[in-house]
């Protein structure tokens, strides 16, 4: 029973990473933008969702969770979820509008730097985020009144699956649409695309903002699944785990993004069992960071290996043929 709950929780986490990867797919897979600051949209979405849904100061619920965080708005979780997407999108719009014209490696450094600034702000503005202490008691939708603790992981998994399916459907549609096609043209060769009249800065900015929205929604999903939020959860390595998921799954393919996240989660969780490997035991006993660090070494090696030996990823990008003769009108 405990094992299935564990696996369910793991799958939920993998799917949430899948949503994150979908956001990055819109920015990189579709628009070719090297975003090294993706975790910032995730963080902002998570905090927005938490902040808006935590019980307001003075209420019963507030006192029930310890009466520490005073800025809660007490809004229903679905509303907070949408607001998280909006927050992620707005941050992406802000960051994107300044960087959209930068060439690739400058864009990578700029987005990385801006994400670190966001993290700095979230850490230092303790009045907003409770800084090093974190916030407990982030509301978990449908828990308590409707579903008890035992069945909750399955409920949350179901919620997550619904969100993933929706995001995936939207991404697939976007990718195949004229907008997606114009973006891919810009990604392939910006000069040629502009010579065909594609307004590349505007197109890229929109894709970037959309990616931020999706990442923000992922943040909301994540914090409500845990019930706890803490700025230390949003470290740069998350950005690169999402990159690995995307590259592994197939960068030009939205389904690949989700698949890559699931595969990556399977790999990294597989390393959890290194704890019990006999000859590593003395090392892990002496140094508690041993296995977690080993896991990150593996992620680093995977990043290097995938980029060098497996750049296409698992699922290739779809080549779209001309539509069939006898279909009328519905080629949009």
């Amino acid at each position: 029973m405990a094992l299935t709950a564990f696996l369910v929780g793991l799958l939920t986490l993998a799917l949430i990473y899948g949503v994150l990867a979908l956001g990055l797919h819109l920015q990189f897979g579709l628009a070719g933008m090297l975003n090294f600051g993706h975790v910032a949209f995730f963080a902002v979405g998570a905090f927005t969702s938490a902040l808006l849904s935590l019980p307001p100061a003075g209420s019963e619920a507030y006192l029930a969770i310890g009466g520490q965080y005073q800025l809660g708005f007490g809004l229903p979780v679905p509303l907070a979820f949408l607001a998280a997407g909006l927050a992620g999108g707005l941050l992406a719009l802000l960051i994107g509008s300044t960087s959209v014209r930068l060439s690739s490696h400058y864009l990578a450094v700029a987005t990385f730097a801006m994400a670190e600034i966001v993290r700095s702000v979230l850490t230092n503005e303790a009045w907003l985020t409770r800084g090093q202490f974190g916030i407990l008691g982030v509301p978990q939708p449908l828990r308590g009144e409707v579903f008890g603790a035992a069945s909750y992981p399955y409920v949350y998994l179901a919620l997550t699956v619904v969100v993933v399916a929706l995001m995936l459907a939207l991404s697939v549609r976007l990718t195949a649409s004229p907008f997606g096609r114009a973006l891919r043209a810009v990604r392939e060769d910006e000069t040629a695309a502009r010579a065909l009249g594609k307004p590349s800065p505007g197109l890229k900015l929109r894709a970037f903002a959309l990616g931020g929205v999706v990442a923000g929604l992922a943040g909301s999903l994540w914090t409500h699944s845990l019930g706890i939020i803490h700025v230390g959860q949003f470290v740069p390595i998350i950005t690169f785990q999402v990159w690995l998921a995307l590259l592994l799954g197939g960068r030009g393919n939205p389904v690949g993004a989700v698949l890559g996240a699931v595969v990556l989660m399977a790999i990294t969780e597989g390393t959890r069992f290194l704890d019990s490997v006999p000859f590593l035991e003395p090392l892990t006993r002496r140094n508690p960071s041993f296995v977690p660090s080993l896991r990150y070494v593996i992620i680093g090696l995977l990043l290097i290996a995938v980029v060098r030996f497996f750049p296409r990823g698992i699922l290739p990008e779809r080549l779209r043929p001309p539509p069939v003769e006898d279909r009328r009108g519905d080629t949009a």
Binding site: P178, E188, T191, G197, G329, A332
Partner: protein, 255 residues
């Protein structure tokens, strides 16, 4: 077929101390095929970049009908009706041949986020329209059998045809062709020439940079010769061919 569609007036651009283009002025008449020739290093590619907005000129003006192009972004210029191809064909390698063509269609109301998710009637119609034109172009270029495949798998000559077709999807008022026949075999050059002649018949104005003299002489109504960043001579193909200054420029430098 008499008034100028594209007017270049006193265009100039220097890089460091080098005057790549030094006061170039000429007109391209509506409905004509105009050739731009000159030895290597004459400044032809730079001139193309100046006209298409890739590089900003130091001085001068470019007018398309009565619209000033200097200072505008390349995509704005393209939407004003100016299409171009590149010397090395810039295909979109990860996309199919079909999508390469479809990506060429501009002024598509469907190219927004909302209309991608919730298409309007107008965007559906435009997509249908472009679809029809793309199919027609596939036939025009002889590429139908390759439509579903990746553009990356096309040969050099086929890529040239594809990028020509893609530029035509925009239905440009004027098409700038940058060495369309370079590196292309005889048969394909023949095909290209026929296609360009067809374009003229359809009323598309063409400005073509070329080294292949046969192509220039057979296709062009008017030829402009550049040398060392300036216009050396211009006129009918015959007159230019006989012009002494032109002969000397070509003998003096490499073609």
């Amino acid at each position: 077929m008499s008034e100028p569609l594209l007017s270049l007036v006193d265009l100039a651009r220097s890089f460091g101390g080098l005057r790549a283009v030094n006061g170039v002025s000429f007109d391209v008449l509506r409905g004509s095929v105009t050739g731009l020739i000159g030895p290597n290093g004459a400044g032809k590619s730079t001139l193309f970049d100046l006209v298409t907005g890739v590089t900003r000129p130091d001085r001068g003006s470019v007018r398309l009908a009565d619209v000033e192009l200097v200072g505008k972004a390349p995509d704005v210029i393209a939407r004003a009706g100016l299409g171009r191809t590149f010397q090395t064909p810039r295909i979109f390698p990860a996309m199919s041949v079909w999508e390469n063509l479809m990506a060429g269609g501009d002024r598509h109301p469907g190219e927004t986020v909302t209309r991608s998710l919730f298409p309007t009637r107008r965007s559906r119609e435009r997509e249908h329209e472009l679809s029809g034109r793309a199919k027609e172009l596939l036939t025009f270029l002889g590429l139908e059998h390759l439509a579903s495949g990746s553009a990356a798998e096309l040969s050099g000559g086929q890529r040239k045809l594809l990028t020509l077709g893609r530029a035509l999807m925009m239905e440009p008022a004027i098409l700038l062709l940058d060495e369309p026949a370079a590196g292309v075999n005889q048969t394909l050059t023949r095909t290209l020439m026929d296609r360009i002649a067809d374009l003229r018949a359809r009323g598309v104005t063409v400005l073509v940079v070329e080294h292949d003299m046969d192509l220039i002489m057979q296709l062009c109504d008017h030829v402009v010769v550049m040398h060392q960043g300036e216009v050396l001579a211009q006129g009918t193909p015959g007159s230019v061919q006989r012009d002494e200054r032109v002969i000397e420029a070509y003998l003096g430098g490499a073609v």
